[in-house]
Amino acid sequence: MWVKPQEVFLKTALWDCDETTLYFVLQRRKGHGKSKGLSSLLVGTLDSVRDTKPAPYRILHQTPNSEIYYVIATALTELEIKQDWQWLFENVSPTLHSFDTEEEITEFVCCKINSLIATEQESFTEDEDTINYKNVDYHFHQRFGMPKDEKLVCHYSCSYWKGKMPRQGWLYLSMHYMCFYSYIFGRNTTLKIRWADVTELVKSNSLLLPDSITVVTRDGEHCFTMLLKKDETFALMQQLANIAMKQLIDDKTGNYNIDKELLTKLSKNVPKKASFLKRDLDAKKQSNLYTLRFRLPQVEKLDGTEECTLWTPYNKRHNWGRMYLSQNFICFDSRVANLVRLIIPLRNVYQVEKADSGGTGSSGESGSILITTSYHTSFLFGNISDRDFIVHKISELLAKLPNDVFREKSGKAVGGQRVEGAWTPQPPLMTLFKTHQTSSIKQIQQKKEKQWEDHMAEVGRGVSMYRTTEGSELVVKGIPESLRGELWSVFSGSILQKVQSKGLYEKLVNEALSSKNQANDEIERDLHRSLPEHPAFQNDVGISALRRVLCAYALKNPTIGYCQAMNIVASVLLIYCPEEQAFWLLATICETLLPDYYNTRVVGALVDQGVLEELTKSQLPDLHAKLDELGMMKMISLSWFLTLFISVMPYECAVNVMDCFFYDGAKVIFQVTLTILDVNKEKLLKSTEDGQAVQILTDYLEGIFNDEAMALSTEPRTAQKTIKIQELVYQSYRMYGANVSSECIEHLRLKHRLRVVRHLEDSLEKNTLRALQQDKLLDANELQELLSVIREELFWAKRVPAERLEAPYEAYRLDYAQFKTIYVALSPWAKGDYAEAITARIFKLMDHDDDGLVSARGLSLAIGLSTRAEAQKRLRALYCAHAPPLLSNLELRSAQLTEVEELADDAISFFDSIQRPSESIQKSISDMGDGQIDKSTDSTYSPDEAIAAEAIRVCALGVPPGASPGTPPPPSPPPALPRPHFLRLLAALHDLTQYSTPLYEAVARAETLLLQLGELRHRPNLDREMSQDSLYLAAAAQPSALEPDRNGNLEEACAQPSPSKDEKDPTEDWSITLEQFLATMLAEAALEEFFSKQVSILPQLEALRQRDRLQSVS
């Protein structure tokens, strides 16, 4: 990185020179890299004490006769500095010879570097703001003990009401927390709330607390007042809380790409100032509104807007409004709502020109731009105040378009793949399976088609048609069947997605059909249960198309996979749209129009139930009260929303609602629902129980009819006609169209998402606790605490998305590092020098599927076993943890190899040696964390070994942590321990008992006995199963004086030549069985007592929580 040339005097102080030329020196800070003298150590310490931390590499400019040096470049890495060095060498050095004086050379170099900086640093603006922010950021991290990667977004001055006293101080908003700090009259007030714990944010204005923001969490309410910028603060709080919620949804379902993108973007810009982050969030919000308004792909980022007019040829007028620019689109929306709206994809733009001499009228003359598309249509924008800038901007955006790439690729892809796939995408199924139509209905349809043809002749066709009031009116009346496919795609914006990802559908289908998974099975089961009344789905043609669309989508979006109701929606789409278009429409519904609806916890649908409830409460308060009393507010409309009314209304009516839904968005479902409730209000108010109320609504919905289309159902209509669908849709716009706006829905969704996610989290936690209690080891209190520790621990780590949770506790899965943190802190077994090894053994014992992750149950069992279980169970668990193949020969061997070839077997061993556990285990496990889990697992166990491992786990725990608790354990004898394994077990036992002399001696006694027993194995005629009696006899025998000391044993084990199976090893026949082990151990009263001790882990839990807080401070 080039820096503004600065004079330095001490060339060598604290620096080592790496390279020198006549005019330049490359230096390295002492304490970095190779040099390892005392002074360099000192410099390193000095730097970290002073917190100055200069960049470790720099380049100086000098001239032979001058004592003055100029720093011209610095870098954090050697590579970076070498690049700069290389550049200097190639570009600057050669020219320097042509100068006469050294002064000139210096001047030239400085000038050159300055100009480099000037061009490079357009975006790079470090000013006082940054320094100020850095200070605040520093204090924020110190004060609240934030992890380093927590990013402060903004801070505000305000008052926090603690009890009846307002405390003036600072409110800090960061990505995951909101914090408050004040220090007044020697009183310190700090508050730290995680966004993920917030259940509600309220802006209130009461007499007592005017203009306040109330934050409701699970634990209580917090009130803030005297905010200078209350609205801004509130909006930001809402936004941050929602990002947190989406992450929570995300954690279990996979990824939520937009927020991820934002977050990664944030993390890349670590040292940026607060206002940048804030600006970024603001921009994101603007972009969201923008994409929502014009139904653009969600990744679209708004670049800027400009007041201007749009000339509409169909009525020859200039309409005032606003032009929006983003990477791929130019959009326009009129100032008068719904008057005219326009979307021009930049990829279609052919020419942009200034149109001064157009002479089109009075107002449009100045500052006009004419945009011509490649489809020979042009759009005239006028009254642009800064026209040159806009034209410049558009051409800049155009230049960035990668559109040629798209076109070429897609052409080839289509040509190539059609041959290999054994399927062809279907045209709209209605063209293949014509339903009978009466002549009057045909006439109506034709009349409608004519109206639309006329309309489109005026406003254009396709993406860039003018969306006018007249158009909306036509939509409300119902789109003619033949045009549905086209117009749905255009209105919903799905056509844009389709164009942007050409060829993707075919690829997805080919891949999806050849794979076997749960989603595909579920889809298969529902194919004939989607729209069975339509002839297209009584036939393999329709069924196959439906299968392709659903399977392809499940593959495209694994966070959703397949959710019932999607089949119903998709089948209707297939009736009207060509297959690929239907696919993209489905994608648009799932991702944009009904976000999160179909994910694994149907979060979106739940959120919208909340939104509906709130809307009902405000619009129809008495009905809301009634439905609430009947307990059906939460349930009536779930299927209405999930299937877009298709499953509750006659099909030919529901599609009319869909017409408006694609045109106006989710608000339509809300307004139709409200209208239905409103119309039936009187009856509903009289109903006495939920069944009756549901019946009223069912009758009404089934009675809706449509004269303008043929009924699909061939069965005679039984329901009494209630209302014409066109009338219902019209009524919904008239009664609720204005009150229920898209912005309002979006706003309410934000609010209810907090509650829904919180609720889901709580119930997950409750279910987990319930499941864990069935193990009957730790008590409820401890489990509760443990779970909150786990949650805290997982909070910073990336959680694993779980497709299908076998049990609630599977949602909480810890990797080894996380497991270790908690286990070491809580378990009495992990206190000694050998703690790492024991933890690793136990981890592996609990990791029932060998994926490097242990569930919350695994952890609670692990801790429970060491604190609560009967002595026999505890010893059994310890024994099993050391049995092969859990403790594999490979690991034993690698333990011996470590001295020589440290890293050689990293790749093959799952856990490395026990001798060097802290480094190698973490290493191998952190490798696994990076997505190599599968590979390392594969290389660990052969199928036989995997079965053996499973058997051992069953034996150790009664039930493997993966199986649901409560099922009886199948009896299976644990394998005998070979000598090396047994020695490890002994080492672990020594470690557990080392603090108490009597215990230690007891272990030593038992150990001697067991070692002798192991020797007995050599005698061929000895029965495999030793009788209890002989064991006790043996136990009674006094340990001999040759008590082997512990270290001696270990050394012996290590010193043995690598026990490869081929060689005849003296230890081969040596073994100890579980029975022998247990009997001997339990014969020692001290040991039995020790392993029966009931330990409460509450103090440790408390300590761990305290430490977590402190740790994050440092």
């Binding site: 529902d526 069975p532 019932q564 119903i568 349930m635 119930s763």
Partner: protein
């Protein structure tokens, strides 16, 4: 008690997706089988009047969505249930294995007064198919281990045992109702917003 004229029983049908819940309900109520049902989203219900021990009983049968992701949404429908019917598909062992979790989930969510004696009925459906995979014995054993839940092997398609099963359901639910009356004296155990019959009963009591 004999003065009571109308009894309404709320019956919930649970079970994995595709085991035939909707078909069973329709076979019982409408006496017909169709393979043209849409997958159930949310919940649906039908009512039917039956005569049990000379009493007219209205059965309100709630059919629910089977896909796992909808399981937690069922809660709203469970409220005030008098009987719970668990259905599995005898040709699909997985659907049998899920019974346990459906039962647990129901008990947790509905939290009936007396979970140990709440009336359940298990139906092994699709016995008309050849590829049977769960034996009657295995199912029976499981039912016995769960407090002797009545077990029926049914075929919604061929109307095998459907009537009988629902009769039993009605009878068991009714027996539970009668028992419940004894409990009703304890104020803390009165169901809030309970279904129709509770309120009717109160009315009747006043009239007496």
């Amino acid at each position: 008690m004999s003065s009571r004229k109308k009894v309404l029983l709320k019956v919930i049908i649970l079970g994995d997706s595709g085991v035939g819940k909707t078909s069973l309900m329709n076979q019982f109520v409408n006496k017909k089988f169709s393979n043209q049902y849409k997958a159930t989203i949310g919940a649906d219900f039908l009512t039917k009047e039956v005569i049990v021990d000379d009493r007219i009983v209205t059965m309100q049968i709630w059919d629910t969505a089977g896909q796992e992701r909808f399981q937690s949404l069922g809660v709203a429908f469970y409220r005030g249930a008098d009987c719970c019917v668990l259905v599995f598909d005898v040709t699909a062992p997985n659907t049998f294995k899920s019974l346990e979790s459906w039962r647990d989930e129901f008990l947790i969510q509905a939290s009936p007064r007396d979970p140990d004696h709440f009336p359940f009925v298990i139906l092994g459906n699709k016995v008309d198919l050849d590829n049977r995979a769960v034996s009657a014995k295995r199912a029976q054993q499981w039912c016995q281990s769960k407090n002797d839940i009545p077990y029926f092997e049914t075929s919604a398609k061929e109307a095998v045992n459907v009537e009988l099963a629902f009769q039993t359901i009605a009878r068991n639910a009714l027996a539970q109702e009668t028992e419940a009356e004894l409990y009703n004296e304890f104020p803390d155990q009165i169901k809030l917003n309970a279904n129709d019959n509770n309120r009717n009963r109160d009315g009747d009591n006043c009239a007496c």
